[in-house]
Amino acid sequence: MTDTTRLIIVAVGGQGNLLASGVLAEAALLADIPVRMSEIHGMAQRGGVVESAMVFGDAQSPIIADGEADVLVGFEPCETLRALNKCNTETVVITNLAPLPPFTVAIGQGVYPDIDQIQELIRKKTGRLIALDASALAKKSGNVRALNMVLLGALIQSGVLPLTAEQVKEAMRTRTKKAFLESNLKAFDLGFEAAAAI
């Protein structure tokens, strides 16, 4: 298993995680690193959870078993916590801290957990937590929708993936819309810097 890195990305439909995984796949293709990925996005546009699994390296499987993610990236804190079953005690977890409560909370069918408690639980159970307000950083980049690129920046900074910032930026140039490229690159850098400061 040593030559393989397993990444799970969880997000809420509409947060742009399919673009993020697309950029990573493109970067791996450019870097000549074998990659497979699998996505469950049947109801993404109806506000459900979207999960992407990416396997870099020698393994053949396109999906990741419970407890076997090397790194988990969560675009929404409660969803990050929900995906902890994918992690083991060594897993590196990167999460956005800006909550997006599901509508079930608004109609009184559930309680949204406390953000500090979420962080504490993740920190206690996994190898390392990198938590940042990616939504705020996206806003700072000039494009609120660049949350995905902020988290990519943090992910690459963590050094868990066999990809460099330059490779990912190159992939962003081919995969993301020209009009947003500048803000996307900026968002990536902001995420990278924020993770470095943690």
Binding site: V49, T89, A106
Partner: protein
């Protein structure tokens, strides 16, 4: 140019499994492609639809899977390569065609793609369509990876021509919705016109002909089995006395497990890619050289039962195991971890899974089920039906159907009581109406109505069932990603040359005596009209017309006009509690509307007792 039309053999591309299948068909020179959309197959047809607009390919969204297979079968009998694709349950709809098409056969290559959905990520059952290979006698190909999906699709056309019968390409969600690196092959230009040579003694299966054709089908089955014996898609890796037989995506899990457990010198792996008819001799030889064999297949024990039968015939008594309490389940999908664990257990090698954290102290998390979009017209219709039913004091049963509107099942709407399959909302009400004294109100979408709702409605009229059918006409096949259907105005897609069928005229022509049409965003008017239809004894139809909000936004069919909650709000929360529209959120114990999400359907504004919900004024 569409990326899948790139004519650069050897070029590497990251493709979705479904894109790879579409590409494989293009490489094989497919000329006619037909479908009824269904997850997880939908992107195959979406890509072919797009490519048909810039190439010689003929593509159609057919009314249903049965018709789609008929169109493809006739094209293939006229000598042009054809493919039809559908989700697994779609093949049930087309099964009548398939079973006799197997007898009649084809003149040019024809591929039937069936996309199974183990774990039911987006399906109502997880039936194993490998049985259709056995049932029809047709060959089945099962890819294990994205690139192989491309190669196998292209090969399937050749195999079909070699045998003169259609070939089934069976995938699962994890192939359709996985992405991997694909190396492009050259594109064969399609032959778009053929000819039909009349040969009724072989193509009109009256009993005397069919008896002869069945003999031919069995001969073909033997030919196909011989091909499977030496097929490049049936492969053996590794060495040693242990054996694993597997198929599809499970092969990738097995390969990883054998590598990780260092079993390459102890265990041989037989992967069946051309999995029906099974290569009998190959399997018997494999068994004879093994001391024990593990069968790794998702779904039903299709291979396992056959392999056990082969062992019996060969007089072999080695242990052969697969589905068992301590090994594999018939339920859901597999994953690399559980396959690794079962392989370790079966071959008796030590294995410690990664240490997983104890999650027992995680507080219960709020669910995040998919929800009807903000401004979805279905939400409005459901609310109005509820209000009309309450005003009339009816005791109701709500059969529903397959589409976004099935999401109306969730509270607070709770508008779905019974569902079987596409079109069942038109047929099941008859049974409820005769077996109970309740008012039966059922829901069907426009696309589903055309797919298989019409016969149910014909039946209801003929047998005079007491039933109200609500046709939720949002002008598109929304759930699978906004595909056209026979009621859609194709100019929206900038396409000409299509017909368009009026649902209202169809319903009228079927002899429904009570038809009302509503515009669901007009609450009071709609409720009155609904009450009228519900009060009618016999078959009544309500047609609720309003474009799908997501589609309308994407194609700029409607102007967006967001609403906000003014200070007049007394915090009753009727809006959020009755509608659960995802544009609402609570902040500081007050209801707010997310202006980005709100499309301005104004339904909430019509139920607010304080008139507190108002349109946002444009600045300036």
């Amino acid at each position: 140019m569409h990326k899948l039309l790139t004519d650069q053999p050897g070029k590497k591309m990251m493709l979705l499994g479904n894109e790879a299948i579409a590409r494989g068909a293009i490489e094989a020179g497919v000329a006619v492609a037909t479908t009824y959309p269904g997850t997880p197959s939908s992107e195959i047809s979406l890509n072919l639809f797009q490519m048909s607009q810039e190439s010689d390919l003929f593509f159609e969204y057919s009314t249903n899977e049965k018709v789609s297979m008929e169109v493809a079968a006739a094209a293939a009998n006229a000598g042009v390569r054809a493919m039809c694709m559908m989700k697994h349950v779609g093949l049930n709809v087309a099964a009548d065609v398939l079973m006799t098409l197997a007898y009649v056969g084809v003149k040019a290559g024809m591929v039937v793609v069936t996309a199974d959905d183990p774990f039911m990520f987006s399906s109502q059952n997880e039936q194993d369509n490998r049985f259709y290979g056995k049932l029809s006698g047709l060959p089945v190909l099962e890819p294990s990876s994205v690139d192989e999906a491309r190669r196998m699709t292209a090969y399937a056309f050749e195999l079909s021509e070699q045998l003169g019968e259609p070939v089934i390409l069976r995938t699962t969600t994890r192939i359709n919705h996985s992405s991997g690196i694909v190396e492009l092959d050259k594109i064969m230009p399609p032959k778009t016109k053929g000819d039909f040579t009349k040969d009724p003694m072989n193509q009109v299966p009256v009993p005397a002909v069919a008896r002869k054709l069945h003999v031919k089908l069995l001969e073909n089955w033997h030919k196909a089995r011989d091909i499977a014996e030496t097929s490049d898609f049936n492969i053996i890796d590794g060495k040693g006395p242990g054996g694993i037989i597997c198929n599809g995506v499970s092969y990738t899990y097995v390969t990883d497990a054998v590598g990780e457990l260092d079993l390459g010198d102890r265990v041989r792996v037989l992967r069946l890619g051309l999995s029906h008819p099974m290569p009998e001799k190959m399997i018997k030889d494999f068994l004879a050289a093994s001391d024990k064999v593990l069968i790794v297949e998702e779904g039903e024990p299709v291979m396992e039962e056959a392999v056990k039968a082969f062992a019996q015939e060969a007089g072999l008594t080695l242990p052969i195991r697969g589905k068992a309490e301590d090994l594999f389940s018939r339920l859901y999908e597999f994953n690399p971890g559980m396959v690794r664990q079962c392989v370790a257990r079966f071959f008796d090698v030590p294995y410690t899974p990664p240490e997983v954290p104890d999650l027992s102290d995680i507080p219960p998390l709020p669910n995040r089920p998919p929800n009807l979009c903000a401004g979805c017209s279905h939400r409005a219709t459901y609310l109005e039906i509820k209000k009309a039913v309450a005003e009339l004091g009816l005791d109701t049963i709500y059969p529903t159907d397959i589409g976004c509107y099935t999401l109306g099942m969730l509270p607070p709407l709770s508008m779905a009581d019974f569902l079987l399959c596409m079109g069942s909302s038109a047929g099941t009400p008859g049974g409820f109406a005769v077996a109970t004294d309740k008012k039966v109100i059922s829901f069907i979408g426009d696309s589903t109505f055309f797919h298989s709702g019409i016969p149910g409605l014909v039946n209801a009229v003929f047998n005079n069932h007491n039933h109200t059918l609500v046709i939720l006409d949002n002008g598109i096949t929304a759930m699978t990603g906004h595909q056209p259907n026979p009621g859609v105005d194709m100019s929206v897609f900038n396409l000409q040359g299509y017909g368009r069928i009026s649902i209202e005229k169809v319903v009228e022509a079927l002899g429904v005596q009570k038809i009302v049409k509503i515009k669901p965003f007009k609450l009071a008017k709609s409720i009155e009209a609904i009450k009228e239809a519900l009060s009618y004894e016999g078959v009544s139809v309500i047609i609720s017309e309003e474009p799908c909000a997501l589609f309308a936004q994407a194609y700029k069919l409607k102007k967006k006009r967001a609403f906000y909650i003014s200070d007049a709000c007394k915090n009753h929360r009727d809006c959020i509690n009755q509608l659960a529209c995802p544009a609402f959120y609570i902040e500081n114990e007050r209801v707010h509307i997310d202006e980005v999400a709100c499309v301005g359907c104004a339904v909430c504004a019509q139920i607010c007792p304080e008139n507190a919900i108002r349109p946002v004024k444009k600045a300036g």
